[in-house]
Amino acid sequence: MHFSPLPYLDPGSGSLIIQIIIAVLLGLGVALRASWGKIKGLFGIKPKADDDDTDGDSN
């Protein structure tokens, strides 16, 4: 795995590989959701507000 610069903690080979596999799959979901949002947008349906954009408490 190439890092620039290298991390100070070893992220672990097995952890990195599985992370990328899982994340690529999940990323597809995020992409699909985004396109679906755009399609809904064409029909005037507004997306839900992302709670991380609010500065309220998260816990």
Binding site: P7, Q19, D52
Partner: protein, 460 residues
């Protein structure tokens, strides 16, 4: 709280970005030149301000203090000090869960502003003003497109694995964190979790398959593969961890919310009288830091906290601590911290050179300690002689509010019903004689409608 001796703090040595040091009792953080770009991005991107405003990051100020090691130094900052440092093996289920969700929320917010959280250690989170807050200002790095999350393994070990074990197996498994300082090894978590967790997508992937992958690639290095993980994939990963954790729950079995004090033997008036005395005595002595030892769900801790003191409410029962924390959250209480602690075997110092995480004793002394309805458990159930108990409490705080529960009390009778009474000195006189070796007794009040006594003592 104890003032650390001057010099670098022993808990802060791994990250080359900088370290904590203490000078004249004030806590500083040196930032090294290697971290210049990342620090500038944190401050200039608006991320620092956004996180501090949300209560997710400890605020700091920049100072003119000379660095502790000038060769590598770029800057010295003075972070706000957390009122009491606690560790994940002392947290209830929901405290660990909130710390996990805060970590993910910080990483998500960082990504939006071109940064990433480079480590996800549970020890970087502390409860400040009642909320899980990141205390390591140097945990951020500029996000490089295409790179995976370096802290993924650490996050799974520090948060996801213990939470899943607590939720699916037994809440006491949080104590594994006391043995494994870098979090629960995933192969161990995978082995201990029930089979049905393999049907939970999040736990299947982030724990079971993750553990298998670690084993498979244990002694292999992975060649350079740049740009493998898009930002979208990163967000997918974070959201998956977030939803997996949100779905983990724990409801104490066999305990009824709010029913704790119903099992006690004293009347409402005795209870109210005790509350009143605790409130009056804390107001009179005006302590900054109070430790309620055996605090149960925190009823008396709250009386102490009304004086404005920061009150840590320790109890052995994870269910009581969980309920206490739920009240803190509901009422947005800022100066009360519930923690799980077994007084007969308190948290030791752990980590490198026994110095990374302080023991319970090292994090004191407090200004005042409360020991209410606890002495009979220590003296009778745990066989600790009264002089040793007095010595123990004398080392904890300057002021002590302690309740003596005599043998005639039904709670003590119950403890003695199935064992030999080997405690001839366990009397009011024996108790006072033992404690007078270490304390001056300022007040001794009989608790109304009971046979108990409440004392206010000062260490000599």
């Amino acid at each position: 709280m104890a003032t650390p001796t001057d010099g670098q703090l022993p808990a802060s040595f791994r990250d080359p970005s900088g370290f904590l040091f203490s000078r004249n009792g004030i806590l500083y953080r040196q930032i090294n030149r290697a971290y210049t770009e990342d620090y500038a991005r944190l401050m200039d991107s608006g991320l620092y301000e956004k996180l501090v405003k949300a209560g997710l990051l400890i605020p700091h100020g920049e100072t003119d203090q000379a660095p502790a090691e000038s060769e590598a130094a770029f800057k010295v900052i003075q972070p706000e000090r957390a009122p009491f440092i606690s560790y994940p093996y002392e947290w209830s289920f929901s405290q660990l869960k909130d710390a996990a969700l805060a970590t993910l929320s910080i990483h998500k917010r960082a990504l939006k502003l071109g940064m990433s959280l480079k480590d996800a250690s549970a020890y970087n989170i502390q409860f400040v003003r009642g909320k899980a807050t990141l205390i390591d200002t140097l945990s951020f790095e500029v996000y490089k497109k295409g790179e995976p999350w370096t802290a993924y393994k650490q996050f799974c070990q520090h948060f996801l694995a213990p939470l899943a074990l607590m939720s699916y197996r037994d809440v006491r498994l949080s104590q594994l964190l006391r043995v494994y300082i870098d979090g629960v090894p995933l192969d161990l978590a995978s082995e201990l979790l029930p089979f049905k967790t393999k049907f939970n997508f999040g736990l299947l992937t982030h724990i079971h398959i993750h553990a298998g992958s670690q084993k498979r690639y244990a002694d292999k290095t992975v060649g350079p593969r740049k740009g493998m993980m898009s930002q979208q994939a990163m967000i997918g990963l974070i959201e998956s961890l977030e939803s997996t954790i949100k779905k983990l729950t724990w409801t104490p079995a066999g305990t009824e919310w709010g029913a704790y004090y119903e099992a006690t033997n004293y009347s409402d008036s005795a209870f109210e009288h005790k509350k009143q005395l605790v409130r009056e005595w804390t107001a009179e002595k005006n302590p900054n830091l109070v430790w309620d030892l055996g605090g149960n769900t925190g009823v008396f801790s709250r009386e102490a906290a009304t004086s404005g003191a920061f009150t840590v409410s320790f109890d052995i029962d994870p269910a009581a601590v969980e309920q206490n924390y739920q009240v803190v959250k509901k009422n947005k209480e800022q100066n009360l911290l519930p923690l799980v602690l077994d007084l007969t075997n308190p948290s030791p110092s752990i980590g490198w050179d026994h110095a990374e995480r302080d023991s319970f004793g090292q994090r004191g002394p407090a200004d005042m300690a409360l020991a209410l309805a606890v002495i009979h458990h220590l003296a009778i159930s745990n066989n600790v002689p009264l002089p040793q108990l007095a010595q123990f409490f004398a080392a904890r705080a300057k002021w002590l509010v302690i309740e003596f529960v005599p043998k005639s009390d039904s709670q003590v009778k119950r403890l003695l019903s199935s064992r030999k009474d080997i405690f001839p000195t366990y009397t009011r006189d024996g108790f006072e004689a033992a404690f007078l070796q270490y304390f001056k007794i300022h007040k001794a009040e009989p608790v109304r409608d009971s046979e108990r006594m409440l004392y206010l003592m000062e260490t000599q």
